[in-house]
C-alpha cells in the first residue's frame, strides 16, 4: 500500500508540475496566479498521500497550512492586479 500511495503522489506531482509550467509561462498575468491555486491543491494532495504512506500524522498539518496560505497568497496577488487594472482603465479614459 505505501508504494501505491507514493506512486500516486509522484503522479500528481508530475501532473501538477506540467500544469504549473503551462501557467507560469502564460502571457496573461492573471493565469499565472492559478499556479498558486494549482500547487496549493496538488501539494496538499501529495502531502496527504505521503503522510499516509509513511504513517506520520504531522504531515496533515503541513497540508492544512498549505491550503490556508494558498488562499491568502491568491488574495494578495489579485490585489496588485485589480489596483493596476483600475489604474490602466483610468489612464485609458483620460485622453
Amino acid at each position: 500500500m505505501p508504494d501505491f500511495l507514493t506512486g500516486a503522489a509522484v503522479f500528481i506531482l508530475v501532473v501538477t508540475g506540467l500544469g504549473l509550467f503551462r501557467v507560469l509561462r502564460s502571457q496573461v498575468a492573471v493565469e499565472r496566479m492559478m499556479a498558486v491555486q494549482l500547487l496549493g491543491t496538488g501539494g496538499a494532495a501529495v502531502i496527504l498521500l505521503l503522510g499516509t504512506a509513511t504513517a506520520s500524522d504531522a504531515l496533515t498539518d503541513v497540508a492544512l497550512l498549505l491550503m490556508l496560505l494558498s488562499a491568502f497568497s491568491c488574495a494578495a496577488f489579485t490585489l496588485g492586479q485589480s489596483s493596476s487594472a483600475t489604474a490602466t482603465e483610468r489612464a485609458e479614459e483620460k485622453p
Partner: protein, 97 residues
C-alpha cells in the same frame, strides 16, 4: 476486511489522480482564461476530495480523520474565493465592448 479497505483506497485515490490529470489537460488544452480556470478549480478539488475519501479509512485516530476532512473543507473555501477573485480580474482585463 483489510483487502476491501485497500481496494477502496486504490479506487478512490486512483480516480482522484485521474481528475488531477484531467485538470492539467484542461489547463493545457482549453482556449481561454476562464475555461482554464474552470478546469483547474473544479477538477483539482474533486481530485483532492476523492483522495481525502480514499485516505480516511487509513486515519489512525478520529482527530486525524477530522483534520483530513478540514483540509478538504479549506480547499473548497480557498478554491471558491480564489477562482472568484481571479475571474474578477480576468473580466476587468477583457477589452470593453
Amino acid at each position: 476486511m483489510t483487502g476491501f479497505v485497500d481496494a477502496f483506497t486504490v479506487l478512490a485515490v486512483g480516480s482522484g489522480a485521474i481528475f488531477f490529470l484531467a485538470g492539467t489537460l484542461g489547463l493545457l488544452r482549453f482556449p481561454d482564461t476562464l475555461s482554464r480556470l474552470h478546469a483547474l478549480s473544479k477538477a483539482d478539488n474533486l481530485g483532492l476530495g476523492l483522495i481525502v475519501i480514499g485516505l480516511l479509512p487509513h486515519a489512525t485516530s478520529v482527530s486525524a480523520g477530522l483534520k483530513l476532512a478540514c483540509v478538504w473543507l479549506l480547499a473548497q473555501l480557498s478554491a471558491a474565493t480564489a477562482s472568484q477573485l481571479i475571474a474578477g480580474v480576468a473580466r476587468n482585463r477583457r477589452p470593453r465592448a
